[in-house]
Subunit: 192 residues, 2 copies
């Protein structure tokens, strides 16, 4: 069939969910074992060390993210609509609690205690995302659709930081709605 997930895929997606819940040090192979229905040692067969597993999770997460960006670039011509799509994606994820935090944002907070190769992937995600947002803002400014206070790069970093901070606030308050409260005015300020 091809749509039946393999154990390795199950392990990765379970690990992703556990990372989103509480970060690198909050879960163990035993946790995955009981959820996926596989022995601990079998997880080691697929991912010899925990760092291997988490690196795989982050790599896959980045690939999916970049595929999402590419799709937006293809299907959504307007830069403001692209930003709305990006923010709206997270708003939906937080609202339905399916995936209520960015894997890399969570791992970034723990970056000082992460295996080095995982940390590099996390940093890479921040760079990729910031570059994409910068390119949107540059285009929006060039087209006269966005306010041009400050450089595109500065605004992109601010936008990304605010979205991450809004995720954090939603989590701290235990209230998904706060994400929208923070991000809606944000987009309004960017558009002319």
């Amino acid at each position: 069939m091809g749509n039946v997930s393999t154990k390795a895929e199950d392990i990765v997606s379970c690990a992703r969910a556990l990372i989103i819940k509480g970060g690198y040090n909050s879960f163990s192979y035993a946790d995955i074992s009981s959820v996926v229905g596989i022995r601990k040692a079998s997880i080691h067969h697929h991912f010899p060390a925990k760092a291997d597993l988490v690196r795989t999770v982050v790599k896959q997460y980045r690939e999916e993210g970049e595929a999402g960006i590419a799709a937006l670039e293809r299907n959504v011509p307007d830069p403001l609509d692209q930003l709305r799509a990006y923010v709206g994606y997270w708003e939906a994820c937080i609202a339905d609690a399916s995936h209520p935090f960015c894997v890399c944002a969570l791992l970034a907070s723990e970056i000082q205690v992460l295996p080095e190769d995982v940390a590099l992937e996390v940093r890479g995600h921040f760079q990729t995302l910031s570059e994409w947002l910068t390119s949107i803002l540059e285009r929006g400014i060039a087209e006269g659709r966005f306010a041009s206070i400050g450089t595109a790069r500065e605004n992109a970093e601010m936008l990304m930081a605010t979205v991450h901070g809004a995720m954090l606030s939603a989590r701290a308050y235990g209230d998904p709605a706060i994400f929208g409260v923070i991000t809606k005015p944000l987009l309004k300020r960017i558009a002319v």
Copy 2:
């Protein structure tokens, strides 16, 4: 003397540093033991369970924060200067790496795997901080010093989220300067 720190104080400040480094699950009593120069069991004498220790860390952190807020309310009359002092405080902490992340912001990201009483303290910090920022913005708007796009509360939540996100970006990039890059334009937008 009174200025010689007690072991209990040492334990709390060591735990605080370790939490800032990587969160609740990234450190153990053994880590504190080796840094402070006390046996593991003696830490349990002062703080029977890890949750007690971390709750103490967060409570103390909040008290210090509220003392800082009170001092600003006393000594800094201008609302924009108060915001500058708040943001500037964190900029300095991040630049000299002495204290490069908000304890409660870090714990908030792990809130789903935190003991409940610790989680409540963390949430309390977000509320306190948000209320203070809201009051500053209300005053600034009333005095005609701040732009009044959106409510004070919305802007306060956005400001807090952006500061937290900026901490995260500084950490992810491994570059303290990014905090200033993000927060400087932020304050400029708030002032008329």
